[in-house]
């Protein structure tokens, strides 16, 4: 196994070794790579779809698409970055095709959101309401704005990285972020005012 995967000094398979083996058609090596990143990819997709079944299908599609086009992968770029782009693009295509921006189901029992600690029970309630409204408001943003918002705020990408993934300029991302925030702030103003009074 180590011979196939090019094990590192610690005995754990190195990504480069796994990639080299996978590029030669080793499904075993690719399976290990998939296990390394599947959860992160699934969570990213879930942020876009907010539907675990869709996210699960898209995660599977993403890895299969990656396996099929593995020979086109250039070693210079990181494998995770490459597969992350495939995942985001597949998800955006899926959302565009299915037109599922509206009437999306909320998280199910096995995949739900955790609310943060509030400063008081009353504050917790206001915050929790704000969180619910914010989730809805983000969901209602047009796809280009939503994808930019998710990538930058929720995935922590820089404007440059988000621009690279979405195929637009950094300036466009900056503008979309500004507009998205403006829209969200306008929609949630009453809740924000309440929370602001609660925050010192």
């Amino acid at each position: 196994m180590n011979r196939i995967m090019g094990a590192s000094n610690e005995g754990t398979p190195s990504e480069t070794g796994l990639l080299a083996a996978a590029r030669n058609g080793s499904r075993e090596a690719f399976s290990i790579l998939a296990r390394l990143y599947q959860e992160r990819i699934f969570r990213t997709i879930l942020r876009f779809t907010r539907n675990p079944e869709d996210a699960r299908d898209l995660t599977q599609e993403t890895f299969m698409a990656a396996f099929r086009s593995l020979r086109s992968f250039r070693q210079g770029a990181g494998f995770y970055t490459w597969i992350y782009r495939i995942a985001v693009n597949s998800t955006l295509n899926f959302l565009k095709k299915k037109g599922r921006e509206k009437n999306r189901t909320e998280f199910r029992e096995d995949v739900d959101s955790i609310s943060g600690p509030g400063s008081s029970p009353e504050g917790e309630s206001i915050r929790s309401e704000l969180g619910r409204r914010l989730a809805e408001a983000v969901r209602d943003l047009p796809l280009p704005f939503r994808s930019s918002f998710i990538l930058v705020v929720q995935e922590g990408k820089s404007h440059a990285d988000a621009a690279g993934i979405l195929g637009c300029s950094e300036n466009t991302i900056s503008w979309r972020m500004h507009k998205a925030r403006k829209v969200l702030q306008g929609k949630l103003k009453p809740y924000l005012d309440e929370v602001r009074h609660d925050v010192p």
Partner: protein, 191 residues
Amino acid sequence: MTCRKYERWISDNMDGQLSDRKKATLSGHLEDCASCRSYEKSLKILQDEAGKLLQLNVQPEFMKALSKRLEESLYSKPAARVAKTIRHAGRWKWAWVGAAVLVFALVAGGIIFFFMSKTSPDPWPVSYEDSLAQILGEIGEDTGLAESFNQVLQASIGEALLQAESPTFWEGLDEEGVELMELDIANGREI
């Protein structure tokens, strides 16, 4: 500069995308502008809440099921075909290179053969003057042989003129023939 511009700067600043110079300018503006301070505070609350939304609690069973599905699809028949294609891709590459070289050689050979066949053959190794001098030497004083040679020569000249693309046929005529032709011209007949 209006507050609208600063609102965009506030957004950029939250993403860590604002230059130090702009940050200083924005900071100065925020000290003076209560409206922008309020806007920034609202965005910070939104940012905090958006951050909490992403803390997704995925059940381990769900991830195990996903892992199993991925494994199954990787070991399915279509994936096996893909793996086989990937493994043989290197061999096919060399086969294509070989085929390309072969095609190139055939085309180049064809072109060379085409141009070689169009080139004129080597000139006759013995010059006309030399061969004539040799024949005349052999004829010597033999008048009969000289006359026969003249006849053969005239016949071949006449034949060559008739075969030529634009034969000036009168050059092959004897005196009598030329006289007849002149007569025809004088009488206005077509030649």
